[in-house]
Amino acid sequence: MEAGFAARSDAVSTADAWPHTRRPMPWLLAGFLVMIFLVPFEAIHLDVSLPVSSDLDRFVVAGLVAAFALGGLIGNRERIVRSRPRGWATGLIAFAFVTVASIAVNVDRITNLGEWEVAQKRLAVLAALIAFAVVVTLTLRVAELRKFAVLIAVLATITGSATIIEQRTGTNLFYDVATEVFDPIATVDPAPTSAVGVELGDRPMVVGPTRHALSVASMLGMALPFAVVLAAVAPSLRGRLLWVLAACVIVTATLITQRKSGAVVPAFALLALFVLRPRQLLRLAPVGIVALAIGLVLSGGAFNSVSGLLNSADADSTAGRTSDYPAVVPDLLSNPLLGRGYGTLDSSRGDIYRIFDNQYLGQLYQTGALGLMAFLALIITPLVVVRSVLRSDHPLRGPPALAAGAGCLAFGVSTALYDVLSFLGAPYLFLFLAAMCTCAASVEVLRPAPARAPSVRLPRHYQLTPEGLR
């Protein structure tokens, strides 16, 4: 029996579940997770000219959707019937409709100011995100959640380790490997790393596989609950210690980014876990403290990183954030309901462009009050859907649901700390976690096997009638 999460019999079928399956979709999703955590996909531009974007993730999502559609049309009928909780797609649908509506009502101004081109690109990104969310939600099975939770925790640990190496040496392994691998078919942007030899007062730029330190900090913060929950449910002390060490690597990697998000996002994720399952997770405290001390020693003291959060560059960042609020008032008053139009914030227009260090504020500016509500619904829906199984003792549902729910909450927090939709690693991961939440709360039933004709040859004087053999 697992610590705190008692095993209980359930109708969940583990047959044909990833990784013990030949179904292609779960493998493709696992590959996508690997891409999110280990490949700097936003910096890889395939040498193919497309009207919107030739970034790697668009091609991968298109491949996922094509594989899903082909499987739905010509694949074998699945043996498991899944009934997803009512309203799981509410946030997605609302957000998609409001974004298009915000464009439609502002057509004259958007076309007059030449903002359609940039809005088009952001809409293509949104379409990729929505398609990904739908495919993952309709593919995942309850029996696969735990394995995917392990995959996320392992990938986050690898990412965290390589990010620590990046901070120590200035070598970004993700970008270096991607440049070697994708060189013949794609252009890989140089790594934005500036960890070594930064001037006093400046913050280093430790980005891992992403384009910005905030993005990698958010992703690791969202993945942290998986390592913690897996430590809590590990059957042996050795396993528990390993997962706690993995959690320490992830926390250290988030702290060395020297961004406030690196401290705030994991803190909120852990807080959510402890609020929801206090007794089970408090038992990890002694092991956690020891592992944290070891992690800090091995990382050369991440306390320096924490103190680095208080330097002058960070104070400028805070001033920039607070100045955003009064500056958006005129736009809010002129377009209160649907904003200026989704994706119309054009970075090439120095006269009006403003980086919102808060995606909620950015949504309010671009899509108005309705857009903000839809965006909030997008983030809250998985939390509402998963609430019934957050405290479940079912080993296949409870722990993954708890970790995914805390990860979604961490995304909600990081959304308030930077323009999260401008860097796609965290949004993709959030949508995967949201799908895990939906799946954990789903009902799965085995479809009855199709009736087969009797294989024995009957003597001639027997007849098969509705009443039986005569």
Binding site: F68, A69, I93, A104, V107, D108, N112, Q120
Partner: protein
């Protein structure tokens, strides 16, 4: 519900899907067009515009840029001053008059300091308020002056290519006229006068042709997908409604809905055997 079943349901409801196509087409049309009933007309809301540009060099009569020893900083400073002048109401009125466009439909902005830190570069609430007022203008001018270079670039935008080119071409003429008038008025010695040299002819082209169609297609697809998504639960509800038997509340043997909504034969409950 998998994809094949979804498509099958939509095919059975093809009449309603066709109605959805009609609704989506109307929504798409309304999103990019202004409809008037009296008199009946359909006017596009999407503005197709053309853009053009012209470039000016702020120079001395004997061309300082051709002299290695000449100091360019005073000319760069003047270029920035002239750029700011070109956004003034007086200059905008003159440009509109020369280009033959309505002055109240012309908006001018610039220069933008791209090298400043973000906190100093981004517009304040007051600046945004005045920017928002001018966003409806269909004729637009934007001026740039690169730091430490005596250059001014004018970018124009207008509904037609000819108007855009006329606007861009009007800027050097207005600036030349203004500077000459000031020099005459102040009796500036010829050797100390600045000269505005136009660098080539203004050129332009239509840049956002087709934006309206693309937005209409986007709205059409979104509304149609939304309509079809509504049809699926509506289909399930309608089927459940039809299958309700008011006399038998589901206790009798026969076809019933199982836990997943599909009707199939459910065997009658077994009667307990009587003890003999």
């Amino acid at each position: 519900m998998n994809l094949a079943r979804t498509l099958a349901v939509l095919w059975r409801r093809r009449v309603l899907v066709a109605v959805g196509v009609l609704v989506a087409a109307v929504a798409a049309t309304l999103s990019v067009s202004q409809v008037s009933l009296a008199p009946p007309s359909l006017e596009s809301r999407a503005n197709v515009f053309a853009a053009a540009s012209s470039e000016m060099l702020v120079d001395t009569p004997d061309s300082a840029v051709a002299d290695v020893n000449a100091e360019l900083t005073p000319l760069s400073t003047r270029a920035e001053v002239f750029t700011r002048f070109l956004t003034s109401t007086d200059a905008v009125d003159r440009i509109a008059a020369v280009a033959g466009v309505p002055a109240d439909a012309l908006e001018a902005r610039g220069p933008f300091q791209i090298n400043l830190p973000e906190a100093e570069r981004v517009p304040t609430a007051e600046e945004r308020s005045s920017q928002i007022i001018g966003e409806d203008a269909v004729y637009r001018l934007r001026f740039e002056s690169p730091p430490e270079l005596p250059l001014i670039t004018a970018f124009s935008q207008a509904p037609t290519e000819d108007e855009a080119v006329a606007l861009a071409a009007a800027v050097p003429r207005v600036l030349q006229g203004y500077v000459r008038a000031a020099q005459r008025r102040e009796q500036t010695p010829p050797a100390r006068r600045v000269t505005i040299r136009e660098l080539g002819q203004a050129e332009g082209a239509v840049v956002n042709e087709g934006a309206g169609v693309q937005i209409a297609v986007l709205v059409f697809l979104t509304v149609l997908v939304g309509w079809c998504m509504l049809l699926i639960p509506a289909h399930t509800i309608a089927r459940g409604w039809r299958e309700i038997d008011p006399e038998d509340e589901g206790f009798a043997p026969g076809p019933h809905r199982n836990g997943h909504g599909s009707a199939q034969h459910v065997p009658p409950p077994r009667q307990p055997e009587k003890a003999s």
